[in-house]
Amino acid sequence: MRILIVEDEKDLANEIRDFLVGEQYNCDMAHTGHEASEMIAINPYDFILLDLGLPDYLGLDLLQEVKKYNPESYIIIITARNELEDKIKGLNSGADDYLSKPFSILELLSRIQAISRRKFGYKTSVIQFGDFNLDTIKKTLQYNNQIIELTAKEFKLLNYLVLNKNRVLDRMQLMEHVWGDFFEEDYDSNYIDVHIKNIRKKLLAYDPKQWIKTLRGVGYKFELTD
């Protein structure tokens, strides 16, 4: 998959690129609106990460150009203006998702994956671990065809952990994924521990294996060897 990163902050663009390349994506970068405009007109992209706050170009104009020259590509808007109105405007203009700065690159990855699943027409997307089946589209967890009841937040957490398997997720990344921008100070992250405890309890009822590993002072890791 080919991704275009439109971001005037070179440092930030580089970091995102490094990460996405590590995730096996092909990445191009544009640091100005004009550069981006040219690249969009010439190359086909699967994803375009678009910073709306470009100094030389109106982000929404660029969005129109994408729709014109690259109608097949998916757009994730990035902006420092954390505003619902911007979000609505962007989404109305054809963007597929929206991230406000600063965002977690894991969150970015999960958005890209979610859009891929949605747009590339996967009817089911089931991830298996042990005898558990996690369906990311139907949002269900089953153990040998037996449905395990999870709350919406618990599912979201488990899903995120599973998608980022074998990777350490700190509490804040988890909080951000579950609560979005609401959560305020870090005392809130204790609630993640309670949620994890509940998920573990539900998994343990079927399977004695500790799937979620605690890293003291850091966060959690879902361990799954292929």
Binding site: E9, E15, F19, K101, F103, L215
Partner: protein, 447 residues
């Protein structure tokens, strides 16, 4: 002693009325008096002229023509039929000189009449005669009386006329001042100041108006600068924060990282997160101050409370608190910004949870005639009275071992003010806190 304060206009009118009334009263007293003096002088002059005529007649015709020397009563008298005037000449036995004018009463044909009498003695043929010329005072009194009543009517009319004219003129003259005061009255925000120049021919007012306009312009500029500054700074801060954040995320992904290094990075991320929240909150506050949020969404407040509870319920459960809800069944719609209203209610409940270790959070709402009251009560640590006044100020919180860098309540207050929602706090130390929101309802809000 209470000192009453009046508008300049009223003071001027009052002062004018006072001075005019004084002058008119004085005139009412003086005019008849002066008129009396003048008429008396006129009468006296007339009498003197008549005396001259009589003297001339005596000179030419001889005294004997008037006074019969053979008669027993050596005198002469003449008066006209209405007894308005009389002339008398009589011989005096004593040799005294008389020359005077005085009031005196005379009996003429059994009628006593007030006269102004000129008495004058002359010597003729070795004898002394007294000439008296009288003029009836009745006419004079009548004239004086008439003059008095006319003067009273005239002066009162003048008094009222001038007062009305004064009033109108003062009103007209001070109209620009009224406009200036009105302009100053209407200031809620320097940005909304009406800069149109007032129309006046009075240089003082024009100068005053111009000075106020110039000053307001300066204040407005400073205001806007400050707002934009906070807005821009917040905005500009988010990009570098984002760079650091992404870098730290990338480092975390490195397989070679030791556990201690990882803990340090997570701590750095936590600090960065605090910074992010601070910047984001400042950004929202500066947007509220800039009135960038549109207040045009019709929000179902009952439903909004449900959404907040839905989002925050886990925290209540995890902390072992009970949630009690006693809410109005009547649907209340409020026109505002849903995102901000959500944040406001969320922050209040979140804060209640934060400062409550055991007990309950109670949410009560009721619709009254002109408002919707939302009361959020906790059984938390409460506050001492001094703190209650300060909780909505920036950077004041009362953490007791708990993190205390929240500006959440400041934001809450800002959102409430922006929506004209009144927010009040009742708190008792170690017993709990109640936050009461009162949403004003307008006709369009009712369904």
């Amino acid at each position: 002693m209470k000192i009453f304060k009046f508008k300049l206009k009223n003071k001027l009118v009052f002062f004018n009325a006072l001075t005019k009334t004084t002058i008119v009263t004085l005139l009412l007293i003086l005019v008849p008096w002066i008129a009396g003096i003048i008429t008396r002088q006129d009468t006296d002059n007339e009498l003197v002229q008549k005396l001259d005529k009589v003297l001339a007649l005596i000179e030419s015709d001889g005294i004997n023509n008037f006074v019969d020397q053979n008669a027993e009563l050596k005198s002469f008298g003449s008066y006209n039929i209405i007894k308005a005037e009389f002339v008398s000449i009589e011989q005096l036995d004593v040799d005294t000189l008389i020359d005077e004018i005085q009031f005196s009463q005379r009996n003429i044909e059994e009628e006593i009449i007030d006269y102004r009498v000129l008495s004058y003695s002359i010597k003729k043929d070795g004898k002394t005669y007294l000439i008296e010329i009288g003029k009836s005072m009745e006419d004079i009194y009548k004239f004086e009386q008439k003059l008095k009543s006319y003067a009273v009517i005239f002066l009162i009319i003048i008094l009222f006329l001038t007062l009305i004219i004064d009033l109108i003129f003062i009103q007209f003259l001070l109209k620009p001042l009224d406009k200036i005061t009105k302009k100053l009255h209407n200031i809620k925000d320097p940005v909304n100041f009406d800069y149109s120049n007032i129309d006046s021919q009075t240089t003082d007012f024009v100068y005053l108006d111009q000075s106020i306009n110039a000053l307001m312009q300066k204040i407005e500029k400073a205001f806007i600068n400050e707002r934009e500054y906070i807005g821009n700074v917040s905005h500009e801060l988010l990009t570098p924060i984002s760079i650091i954040r992404t870098k730290l995320d990338n480092i975390m992904l490195s397989k070679s990282l030791s556990e201690t290094d990882m803990i340090k990075i997570v701590e750095a991320k936590q600090t960065l997160h605090r910074l992010t929240n601070l910047v984001r909150t400042l950004l929202v506050m500066s947007r509220i101050e800039n009135e960038e949020y549109l207040l045009n969404e019709k929000v179902n407040i009952n439903q909004l409370i449900d959404e907040v509870i839905n989002e925050i319920n886990d925290k209540i459960l995890f902390k072992g608190l009970s949630l009690e809800r006693n809410e109005s069944k009547t649907v209340f719609h409020f026109t505002g910004n849903k995102q901000l209203l959500f944040t406001m209610i969320y922050n209040i409940i979140n804060n209640s949870i934060r400062y409550t270790e055991a007990g309950s959070i109670t949410i009560i709402s009721k619709v009254s005639k002109d408002s919707f009251i939302l009361n959020i009560t906790d059984t938390g640590i409460g506050m001492i009275p001094n703190q209650t006044e300060q909780i909505f100020l920036r950077h004041k919180s009362f953490g007791q071992g708990i993190d205390n860098y929240g500006i959440g309540l400041t934001l809450t207050k800002k959102i409430a003010d922006y929506h004209k929602i009144t927010i009040s706090v009742n708190s008792e130390h170690k017993i709990g806190t109640s936050i009461i929101l009162s949403f004003p309802s307008t006709k369009s809000d009712k369904v």
